[in-house]
């Protein structure tokens, strides 16, 4: 399927090119695919969070009706393990399972129900082991992995068991004394991406031993590079094609059913479709790291930060995924967007038998923003200063130095976003009594509002754009310019709902000065890697690559005439690793660029019932330059909703590592009744090193909104509220 160009160039409000097909059912998501003769794949998963596998008996399953294949680790022809950054995760459990829901065996059958029933007839003899579920005890317990997967990669090779990464950032003199000091301990539960389109896809054998996989993912090429070695195939015999993606938010960075469906397809020589249901989806992808954070902030009498000390403990769960980078990000943004001369930040991520954690929108910065902004409010209170004024006095600006030693040399309008968000007028208190739908808890509120209290909160957050710490982060684009002036663009950038398809077409249309541009299917077969649709990087990187390729194509045509076909690779400025001992950048920079946001929230709580209602949110966000303002607003509104969810309701609950709420009945995400109006101001301060001055916009709203919503609840209740999600019990009985 090719897409035709919408009207519009860079900077214009443009309708989504995939809009109508998504409203009428035509758009093919990964769960909608069909191939003649296809079988249905199913995964048998571990019911234990930690157990040894003694024996697997497949006999009954193999003779079950409609079954064409039952596979275990013995049927994995290539590498037995894979991983986004470290190959520590078995394709199918070897002799031990380390988390609830770990894949153990695969079934292909003619009907999905036949596959499920056959799975029930696989007899796995487990010897349950004591699960490691308290991250604070992980450092003293038996190692969960025999090998030190994350050692030897330039991080501090921590000798303690179960450490995924331990990073210490030491800057200036952390012992420096201030006039005031505040401290606190903060905790965040496990959040799920809860994208609506469950993991799914179709693997089709090519008849020559290779395979085509149609899947919803965030990064086609890194999927291929993990899948091919496990299948024992060279990369070119595994082609990954982007199927319609029903949301991602980090949860599709790691593989889910890619290798499994391909194994079944190659084994049966039939196309195999796999679709997780919601319960399976909750165990089928990584989550946001739960965290415990100890913080101490010192300031002088004028409210200038003197020193920040923070200890961050992240629970990575059973496998490494992207935990090493999350550990670093949490530390990098621990001080918030404030200038701090002295800091000691210790960030540790451990393995456990809890659900595996990895990338989710905000990537480490969400956790520390929650702690750091609570600390800033405490500091304002201790100093008798207005919280907004305190933040302004400490706001980072270009030229300032971060605790990692990196000088900010691009755009970072922290004071501007603070001023603009603080200037947004707050709606007036709605009189009582009122319609129940407008009370905390909505229709569930049976009072006349006697217990309603209102609060106003404020928070600021920032985060890096693109990959950091020396990662070779690039994006390719290919442009075929025909003699008639029409063009075809190839770019593997994953359209996950954020609208990068429009970005690519807007850039090509602008650069080539023609309407006649189509975007070819996103695939590993026709273009080099785009890198991941994550880290708020895809708009910047795709715009850079398409711009380069378009300009090269025009030059080439100038020179040779006729049809030209060129591919170009775009790279952002190089970054350097952090020193493993000091946490200081070993070059000019460890991060490429930054984006910030400030948010003001009005919330009401019912202190008799423990219910909440967010009334209004106003935000100012640093967006660089908006390629498509409508899409930018959409990112801000949606990103805000996810942060509100973490503040008020979203938490994966576990007992002994077993997830107890793997459904939308028990894991709640914000509904149309939970979301207030969001007023957003776009601050356009172009990033000098980016094409058109763009910045990524997806993550800052999620980083800041959890902190801002809880600040409003604190204002309403006068309570510390140090843990999210805030529960009714935390609010009742004032």
């Amino acid at each position: 399927m090719s897409t035709t160009l919408p009207l519009g160039r860079v900077g214009e409000r443009v309708k989504r090119v995939d809009g109508i097909p998504k409203t009428n059912g035509e758009f093919a998501y990964s769960s909608d695919l069909f191939a003649a003769g296809m079988l249905w794949g199913h995964t048998l998963r571990s019911p234990h969070s930690h157990a040894r596998i003694v024996e697997i008996d497949l006999a009954d399953a193999l003779t079950s009706p409609g079954v064409h294949a039952v596979l275990t680790h013995e049927d994995v022809p290539g590498q037995k393990r894979y991983g986004l950054e470290f190959p520590d995760q078995p394709v199918l459990a070897l002799d031990r399972v380390r988390y609830f829901g770990e894949p153990v065996a695969l079934i292909a059958a003619e009907h999905p129900e036949q596959a499920r029933r056959a799975a029930e007839r696989i007899r796995v003899a487990y010897e349950p082991l004591e699960p490691l579920v308290d991250p604070e005890r992980a450092l003293e317990q038996e190692p969960l992995h025999d090998e030190r997967w994350t050692h030897g990669h330039g991080y501090r090779d921590d000798p303690r068991p179960n450490v995924v990464r331990h990073l210490v950032i030491r800057h200036g003199d952390p012992d420096a004394e201030g006039a005031v000091s505040v401290s606190g301990v903060y905790e965040l539960g496990i959040q799920d991406q809860a994208f609506l389109g469950p993991e799914s896809g179709l693997a089709v054998p090519d008849g020559e031993g290779g395979v085509d996989i149609y899947v919803a993912t965030q990064w086609l090429h890194v999927d291929r590079d993990q899948v091919a070695p496990c299948l024992g195939l060279p990369p070119e015999r595994v082609r990954i094609h982007l199927a319609g993606v029903g949301g991602a938010f980090g949860g599709r960075e790691d593989l889910s059913m890619q290798i499994h469906s391909a194994l079944l397809a190659l084994h049966t020589e039939r196309p195999v479709k796999m679709v997780y249901n919601r319960e399976e989806s909750f165990v089928g992808h990584v989550h946001r790291h739960p965290a415990r954070i100890w913080a101490e902030h010192r300031a002088d009498a004028d409210g200038r930060l003197v020193s920040v000390r923070m200890r961050i403990l992240l629970d990575g769960g059973a496998y490494a995924s992207s935990s090493t980078a999350v550990t670093s990000n949490a530390a990098s943004f621990a001080c918030g967007p404030y200038a701090v001369a002295n800091a000691l930040i210790e960030s540790t991520c451990v393995y456990s038998n809890n659900p595996p954690c990895g990338a989710m929108r905000g990537f480490g910065a969400v956790q520390t923003c929650f702690a750091s902004e609570a600390q800033m409010d405490k500091l304002a209170d201790a100093l008798g200063l207005d919280p907004v004024e305190l933040r302004l006095r400490n706001a980072l600006a270009p030229g300032d130095v971060l605790p990692t030693g990196q000088r900010i040399d691009g755009s970072l309008p922290v004071a501007e976003v603070i001023r603009r968000a603080a200037a947004l007028p707050v709606p007036e208190l709605e009189p009582l009594p009122r319609e129940a739908i407008r009370l905390p808890g909505g229709a569930g509120n049976t009072t006349r509002g006697e217990g309603v209290r209102r609060g106003v909160g404020f928070a600021v957050g920032f985060k890096n754009i693109a990959y950091s710490e020396g990662f070779d982060d690039y994006c390719a684009a290919r442009v075929r310019l025909r003699e008639d002036g029409s063009a075809e663009v190839h770019c593997a950038a994953a359209e996950v709902g954020q609208g990068v398809t429009n970005v690519i077409l807007q850039v090509a249309r602008t650069e080539l000065a023609t309407d006649d541009v189509v975007l070819a299917p996103h695939t590993t077969a026709s273009v080099d890697s785009s890198g991941s649709a994550s880290a708020s990087r895809m708009t910047w990187m795709a715009a850079g690559a398409v711009q380069l390729a378009c300009r090269a194509a025009l030059e080439e045509r100038e020179r040779t005439g006729g049809e030209v076909d060129v591919e170009r690779i775009y790279r952002h400025v190089r970054t350097s690793p952090l020193d493993p001992e000091t946490g200081q950048t070993t070059g000019e920079r460890s991060h490429v660029a930054f984006a910030c946001a400030a948010m003001r929230v009005v919330a009401e709580v019912d202190v008799e019932l423990g219910l909440t209602r967010v009334v209004w949110i106003g935000t100012a966000q640093d967006v660089g330059a908006a390629v498509n303002p409508q899409a930018v607003e959409g990112q801000i509104e949606g990103g805000t909703a996810q942060g509100l969810g973490l503040a008020l309701m979203e938490e994966i609950q576990t007992q002994g590592g077993l997830i107890t709420n793997a459904s939308f009945t028990d894991y709640l995400i914000p509904t149309a009744l939970d979301m207030p109006p969001v007023e957003s101001v776009l601050i356009e301060d172009p990033e000098p090193s980016a094409p058109y001055g763009v910045k990524g916009v997806g993550e800052p709203p999620t980083v800041v909104s959890t902190a801002a919503v809880v600040a409003a609840l604190r204002d309403a209740t006068g309570r510390e509220l140090t843990r999210v999600p805030v529960r009714p019990d935390d609010i009742v009985g004032l």
Binding site: R16, I20, T23, Y29, E113, N277, E633, A641, T665, L673
Partner: protein, 150 residues
């Protein structure tokens, strides 16, 4: 078992297993994957269809229960090249991101506007509170409903 039903105005037949939902039959047996499979337990509204004119979650209706009944799915709302006004409003307002919730929201909005052509803000929120969206934060969906109501 064989079922016969009217889908988007057409008489259709399907051979279904007794345990199959209407959603599965629509998606996998009748070639209509527009209704989505996001939770399959009636919590998210992504599979919303009209069954004899009533808004239902197709995942909670057995295919066998739809035998002899009339079903309208998202595919049946507009015509080729001529989207339904609610579909156009969703695109115009920027209410579509990943789009997985969109078919269900479009059907729910069509149902809302059929009963209440000029819904209030509270009415819109309440009517759509059974449809989860993870991308948009709902603001532009409310814009779309207001736009479609004009």
């Amino acid at each position: 078992m064989k079922i016969e039903l009217t889908v988007n105005g057409e008489q259709r037949e399907a051979d279904v297993w007794e345990g199959e939902s209407l959603l599965f039959a629509l998606r996998e047996k009748l070639g209509l994957p527009g209704s989505k499979n996001a939770c399959e337990q009636g919590e998210c509204g992504s599979c919303s269809v009209l069954l004899d004119g009533t808004l239902v979650c197709a995942c909670l209706v057995l295919a066998a229960q739809a035998d002899g009944h009339d079903v309208v799915t998202v595919e049946g709302l507009g015509a080729t090249g001529e989207p339904h006004p609610v579909q156009e409003a969703f695109v115009e307002a920027g209410a579509v991101q990943c789009g997985f919730c969109t078919p269900g929201l479009v059907v729910a909005t069509v149902d809302l506007l059929a009963h209440s052509p000029q819904p209030s803000e509270d009415e819109i929120r309440e009517a759509l509170s059974g449809n989860l969206c993870r991308c948009t934060g709902y603001a532009k969906i409310f814009d779309a409903v207001r736009l479609a109501a004009q």
